[in-house]
Symmetry: C2
Subunit: 366 residues, 2 copies
């Protein structure tokens, strides 16, 4: 019998994945990683109060989550001093980026991002037939002026910018971003991915302006809050824009347990501060290990450090491969000329010791 036919668009899509999971690599190697420093997760984990909240919520786990995520949005509104109508909760920033692509992108629509920026955003844009226009990094930073110019030139509907940036760890200050926002072409939405904002200096985060329909801010509980395993994030924006997600989203997609855990995480800002300190210390440790091995750590406002290995992409790829062989999970999600770098997530003292031991061997083996 005739097989069901995919849409024209789906037929053009490659069977690609934005990221191979470390578990896949572990299965291929036949053993686990010693240190998991490749996905910018928070090895410091969530607050003990979160684990307690999860225990308490477990007896309610038979119930669907509140599709409005009312309590969490209410708490977030207070936390950010905005209203609930400016907040949408979703299945991580990844899930929300997918919804944004669906809301705005028809086949052929232009979208602007940096060359080497977040692959999952590109995946979602291509999944809706968007045409990606990539702007090179400028001195290892995303280039606000270049992005704006490209958006104006191509009539882009979306610009993606992560601040602080992944994978470079670099950042712009609020003033630079506010100038960029002023220059946004009409009809263009700036997706400001602030997954790492919790780790950044305060002056890297522009004040929230929920009256501006041309900017949406993306936040997550997967990074500094340590809840990647529950996959919950949120977006902040103008109320009409936020309301539009309700036309397409999976309303019951965020479970009751993730909502309860996120609420508890948000409530323990003292723990978050402590994690931020530990991240800062680990950034220093990674930087020192890099320098001891003749490599150049780049400044970072995130929970990882990007290390310039000083040579070309082949060299950096070899460093990563040799680290992985020694059980250190790291990644190299860069394109040239940033592919001279490797990216190392912050870790515990044990993780740092393992990395310190493995890096010189990885370099020697080349």
């Amino acid at each position: 019998m005739k097989t069901p036919i995919f849409t024209d668009l789906v037929q053009t899509l490659p069977a690609t994945v934005p990221f191979v999971g470390p578990e896949t690599q572990e299965r291929q190697m036949g053993h686990g990683f010693t240190a998991r420093l490749g996905a910018n997760e928070s090895v410091f984990g969530p607050s003990p109060k979160v684990l307690k909240a999860i225990g308490n919520a477990a007896s309610d786990i038979w119930m669907y989550g509140d599709p409005e995520a009312y309590e969490l949005r209410n708490a977030l509104a207070k936390h950010h001093n905005i209203t609930m109508d400016n907040i949408i909760v979703g299945e991580g920033i990844d899930g929300l980026l997918g919804y944004l692509a669906r809301l705005f992108i028809s086949p052929g629509d232009a979208v602007v991002t940096s060359d080497g920026a977040y692959p999952t955003f590109n995946y979602h844009v291509q999944g809706f037939g968007g045409m990606l226009h990539k702007v090179p990094y400028c001195d290892d930073h995303e280039d606000p002026n270049g992005l704006i110019a490209m958006a104006a030139k191509t009539g882009a509907k979306l610009i993606y910018l992560a601040n602080p940036d992944n994978p470079m760890g670099s950042w712009h200050n609020a003033q630079t971003l506010e100038k960029m926002i002023e220059k946004l072409p009409g009809g263009c939405l700036l997706i400001l991915d602030e997954a790492y904002a919790d780790c950044a200096p305060h002056d890297a985060v522009p004040p929230l302006d929920t009256s501006n329909p041309n900017v949406i801010r993306m936040r997550t509980f997967s990074k500094a809050y340590g809840l990647a395993g529950l996959r919950i994030g949120y977006a902040i924006g103008q109320a009409d824009l936020i309301q539009s997600f309700n036309k397409i989203r999976n309303h019951f997609g965020v479970g009751r347990l993730p909502q309860a855990a996120a609420l508890a995480a948000l409530d323990d800002q003292a723990y978050l501060s402590d994690v931020i300190s530990r991240i800062s210390m680990s950034r220093i440790q990674i930087s020192e290990i890099a320098k001891e091995n003749g490599l150049i750590p780049l400044p970072s406002a995130t929970n990882f450090v990007t290390i310039d290995c000083g040579k070309d992409g082949s060299f950096a790829r070899a460093v990563v491969a040799n680290l992985i062989k020694q059980g250190i999970f790291v990644r190299m999600p860069f394109v040239a000329p940033q592919d001279r770098c490797i990216r190392v997530s912050c870790g515990t003292a044990d993780d740092m010791a393992a990395f310190a031991k493995a890096l010189p061997i990885a370099l020697q083996q080349i």
Copy 2:
């Protein structure tokens, strides 16, 4: 500045939600429900072993879930005696239905379902511009021949059928469904939603045939397994069809904790059997309460009982409203002539006592 413009399709979509959550109703009422019997959740909860697995997994909660859900798919493959390549794990059946609509539906494409069947499926189809063609129920059952005839007439790309059916609780046996599958028009995919299959008689579930590209089977951990609060489900189908989800899905959308919980739930089939017994007993109790009040319980192969109130939709709506006023959460997701019914999920002894107390009052108050 000019506001960003949604796609032409999104501009046509209503700001609707498939279901209002009970939490929304509780906030409107200003108090909680005494008995939560409206969303076909499993009040019996998950296995104690699942709660233990969640506790154990909590220390890993800082890690993203395996995007391949390898361990869970491996266990499901053994459980169903199929291969992993025939299984995709997703954010509940709702999430997977959304992906199916996206894979197959372009604006204007025909889709066939029953009039009064699952609103969330309709929501997803409309969200991709599909044209819904609805076939009336036949003797309170979904009508396989009617669905096939409508699909042939409209050139439908998808047919949706839930077996056992929600909201009627009725079911067809495997033979009837196999005959329906034989008659599927070329190029048409049958989405067989088996969310309630765990509660059904064995002869209501056709053997799995993963060689057939025209049928996909939807299963969930949200019903009898008691894990609605973690939102995890899966689909079983022909390998190429299953692989196609990888072109569009949110690869890291299902967290580590839901995967661990589902694995533990699957592993405790003795507990599942026990829940199924308790569901059967509760169905009998609901039926008896209905009869004591002069109403007609319909046969059910699910974790709820649909009760024929014997009059019209206004009457049944009043019964529901009067139950809700007394703190009993029930729903009435029916269209005429099935809107003479109300739907009551199985519950604990306390839930049943609350329902038994409230129903006669609800009827008197009309």
